[in-house]
């Protein structure tokens, strides 16, 4: 639930954690440059704790900032932030004893693009949350049901609360019943090969290769990304469709069995590409073939880090 009380509790908790020396740093959200934005916040002292906010625009996946941290970190975590942190724990990128997961009750984050359809977002001076609606203050008051303006990734999310947390602030959100989280993928699979190819070609034409999707992704942590490598240079640097499409295939593939579908890539994309489609497809396959859902248990081996003797092998040509 989004409420002022939660914000107060977060600030109080952050303050006491920092004062008691349980953590050196709290990663959370603070108010952004405009009313409908938040920015990642790095709180190192108790006085700064009052910066922290909690509202439906807390959209960044904060686990991105866990990479390379030496200090003890408290992470404000929605379901997806916590799951990304679990993947990081599985991959031994961070130590469990240097990470304190502060679970927060998420009710899905708001997609500004969807807001833009019904309101001029530049004219919004303030907003508040009233039960299940978002109230925007422009010249007049605009009321929108939260459910209608949620991000696509939040629409298919059935794990809004952190599966692993050391502290949980507030009451856990009720988990929505998602009918079929892979409905979109399935309908896309139903299209013909040529149609699918055309779709991805168009996607590649749209892409400007800014790599915002990679940078926003909590799973992309390589010090030198394979895309940036020049010796050998695996990826063409041109704007040719083939180069771009290969980038997208590999970007998604590198997240196979790891992607927790936080939607950070789609949100980061300045060209409005639905990057989640490829990720969702891989998620579906991994779930169907290996019965594995990433980001739930830090002690579990990731899908590609283990195998079974009788794994399916339909791709194998028998001759």
């Amino acid at each position: 639930m989004w409420s002022k009380e939660i914000t107060q509790k977060i600030r109080a908790t952050a303050e006491s954690l920092l004062l008691e020396g349980k953590v050196d740093l709290i990663i959370g959200y603070e108010a952004g440059s405009t009313p409908l934005r938040t920015a990642p916040s790095f709180v190192r002292s108790a006085e700064q704790a009052s910066l922290l906010v909690w509202n439906p625009f807390c959209e960044n996946n904060l686990s991105v900032y866990l990479e390379g941290r030496k200090e003890k970190v408290g992470l404000m975590a929605k379901g997806c932030d916590a799951r990304a942190a679990v993947v990081a724990l599985q991959e031994k990128r961070i130590d469990r004893d240097r990470l304190l997961i502060i679970g927060l009750p998420c009710s899905g984050v708001v997609d500004r693009q969807k807001l833009a359809a019904s309101v001029n977002i530049d004219a919004v001076k303030a907003f508040s949350v009233d039960k299940d609606s978002l109230v925007l203050q422009t010249e007049e008051e605009v009321r929108l049901p939260l459910e209608d303006v949620l991000h696509a990734s939040c629409k298919t999310c059935s794990r809004r609360n952190a599966p692993v947390s050391d502290i949980f602030i507030g009451e856990k959100s009720s988990e929505p019943q998602v009918k079929d989280e892979f409905a979109e993928v399935k309908s896309f699979e139903g299209l013909g090969t040529q149609e699918r190819w055309r779709y991805f070609r168009e996607l590649a034409q749209k892409c400007i290769r800014c790599y915002a999707c990679r940078n926003a992704c909590p799973l992309c942590y390589c010090q030198e990304c394979i895309v940036d490598q020049t010796q050998p240079q695996w990826f063409g640097k041109t704007a040719a469709e083939e180069d771009t499409l290969i980038y997208h295939i590999i970007r998604a593939y590198h997240c196979a069995g790891r992607c927790i579908d936080c939607g950070a890539c789609s949100r980061a994309c300045p060209m409005g590409i639905d990057l989640r489609l490829l990720n969702k497809k891989l998620q579906k396959d991994v779930q169907e073939l290996y019965h594995y859902i990433p980001g739930l248990n830090p002690d579990e081996a990731p899908a590609f880090g283990t195998f079974k003797l009788d794994d399916p092998q339909d791709c194998i040509t028998e001759k």
């Binding site: 699979e189 090969t193 295939i249 794994d311 092998q313 791709c315 194998i316």
Partner: protein, 162 residues
């Protein structure tokens, strides 16, 4: 290009296939096929890798992008891996990657995965025949193939042909 020239090129077209073979089984299998004088089409260019687990999907995409008509990846049968479990991990990667390529609309029959042991020289011959037949049915690859006029293209062409 004139129509006749194009036609004659199509008729004389032979698929180029890159085969990634694992050092311990499939490469030895290909070797055995050679020693045993087993006839198979000369369309494959073999690249030896230490294990099927060494295959990075980027290799496959890069090969297709550089103008090969198909890619074959072959390793030891499950249970026979020289490194005990390399091919089991590879199997998961291949299966998921195969699904993904299909999803983005790459036609079936451009990427093959197989298991060939060091004793299966004859099977290797059969496999290559099968792959070449399939690729001939499909014709030259167009999807993912990077075609740029000028020096870059020429350089890539020499790489593939050379």
């Amino acid at each position: 290009m004139s129509v006749e020239k194009k036609k004659s090129q199509q008729q004389s077209w032979e698929p180029k296939i890159v085969a990634f073979l694992c050092n311990w089984c499939s490469y030895a299998g290909a070797d055995l096929a050679g020693i045993s004088r087993i006839q198979y089409p000369p369309n494959v260019r073999v690249i030896r890798v230490p294990c099927s687990g060494r295959i990075n999907p980027v290799f496959i995409l890069k090969a297709l992008q550089s103008g090969t008509d198909a890619v074959l990846v072959s390793g030891c049968h499950p249970g026979d891996c020289h490194y005990v479990s390399g091919n089991y991990y590879a199997r998961r990667k291949f299966e998921i990657f195969d699904h993904l390529l299909d999803f983005v609309g790459l036609e079936k029959g451009r990427v093959f995965f197989s298991w060939v042991s060091a004793a299966e020289g004859e099977n290797f011959g059969h496999l290559i025949k099968h792959v070449v037949d399939e690729v001939k049915k499909l014709g030259p690859a167009h999807k993912l193939v990077k075609t740029i006029e000028g020096p870059v293209a020429n350089c890539q062409q020499t790489m593939v042909e050379g």
